[in-house]
Amino acid sequence: MLQTNLTHITSEDEFKNILTENENVMICCGRMGPMCIPVYEAMEELEPNNPHIKFADMPFDYPISKVIRTLPETKNFNGLPFTVYFNKGNVVKATSSIQTIDKITTILDEQFSK
């Protein structure tokens, strides 16, 4: 389990439920490492002002992470964290490695209308 205040996804059922129950979902799949922590913190900061988006994390070293690792959009990724944005269950954007809050905000604004 990651030490964040985000919703944790640790099983396939939780993953499916989150995608089914929420139109817009941002999932950050990583570890508690220096490239991942800034992304989790940015998500924690953004969560209160974006109720139309579900923010969640997923441990990269748990078996569940295969749902992120095996996506065509992440096949060339080799930098943690893998961050994937879903709209109505479909991948609309994916990024690899550390991202600033400005870059994340831009993606959220582009992909998820309020």
């Binding site: 220096p34 490239m35 922590i37 060339n76 930098g79 990024t95």
Partner: protein, 314 residues
């Protein structure tokens, strides 16, 4: 536009900024900590801190979280992951504009802006970040099992991480711009005696090339200018840190390395503005030295605010 006045505003929330926040707020100064990134600064880069007195071992992340919790407990307000859009340090009342809409003023400012990883700033670097380019061998090394990687740099981090990467990679090439290393003799010896490591000296990567992921790099020799193309799966850029002082470059005295010039009381060239941590000019940069800076800056800032308020009007 929202405006709020504080006794002191700390810019930065690494160990120096958080320590300043702890001392200021415990000293009953109304304190705001503003941070453009994630709380913890470069401390979170450290997986295990084993030389912080009084604590056997702790992760950098946990140490930063504890400092943040202490600062909050004593009454400091923390605003992280914001953008500072304007900074006015002259005059008795200093001001900070955040996100172009929120406006904060203070009697004293502590600049604890820290440092950030240096980048090469060459074509392809941003494009292939996370698709072959990494700044953290500990984080991403295991993606390069049996692959060929380059480590850029010649300091302790570069050579130690090059050795560490040989656990995963088939072969590691260290590319360094000078003809000698800045690393300690021990780190150089460990690297140079490892059969999976080779060196390309006096050279710099001039371009990252690939389609969906990094495939090759151009390496330019710094003396004869020749460019060599090299196939590679990954590049780890470990060329040290630079101070986060670009936004204050023209308003406060910096040295030739863009570090803030300050005296032993952490006073800068502007009255009421103090510096602490890795962004100030000093020789040693450790969590302990940042904490020391933050303490001194906060105590001096409290004195300064008291002096300011006790002045008899002419």
């Amino acid at each position: 536009m929202k405006t709020e006045h504080y006794d002191a505003i700390v810019i930065g929330a690494g160990p120096a900024g958080l320590t300043a926040g702890i001392y200021l707020s415990r000293g009953k100064a109304k304190t705001l900590i503003i941070n453009e990134g994630a709380v913890g600064g470069q401390t979170v880069l450290t997986h295990e801190v084993a030389n912080y007195p009084g604590i056997e071992t702790i992760s950098g992340y946990q140490l930063a979280r504890t400092m943040k919790s202490q600062a909050l407990k004593f009454g400091a307000t923390i605003k992280s992951n914001v953008r500072i859009t304007n900074l006015a340090l002259d005059g008795e009342v200093k001001s900070v504009e955040v996100n172009g809409k929120d406006f904060y003023t203070a009697d004293a400012i502590i600049l604890a802006t820290g440092g950030k990883s240096r980048t090469l700033n060459v074509p392809g670097e941003e494009e292939f970040k996370g698709r072959g380019i990494s700044y953290c061998a500990t984080c991403d090394g295991d993606f390069f099992q049996d692959k060929e990687v380059i480590v850029v740099g010649g300091g302790n981090s570069a050579l130690e991480e090059a050795v560490s990467l040989t656990k995963y990679a088939k072969y590691v090439t260290v590319v360094h711009q000078f003809d000698h290393f800045q690393a300690s003799p021990h780190a150089v010896e460990e690297g140079s005696t490892n059969s999976k490591i080779s060196f390309i000296m006096e050279s710099k990567i001039s371009e990252f090339i690939g389609s969906e992921k990094l495939e090759k790099v151009n390496i330019q020799h710094q003396v004869n200018g020749e460019i060599m193309e090299m196939q590679v799966d990954g590049v780890f850029i470990l060329i040290g840190y630079e101070p986060n002082t670009s936004s204050i470059k023209n308003i406060i005295e910096l040295n030739e390395r863009n570090e803030i010039v300050s005296n032993e009381l952490m006073e800068t060239s502007i009255p009421g503005v103090f510096a602490a941590g890795d962004s100030r000019a000093k020789r040693y940069r450790q969590i302990t030295t940042a904490v020391s800076d933050g303490t001194i800056a906060a105590l001096r800032a409290i004195e300064y605010v008291h002096e300011l308020h006790s002045q008899v009007p002419a």
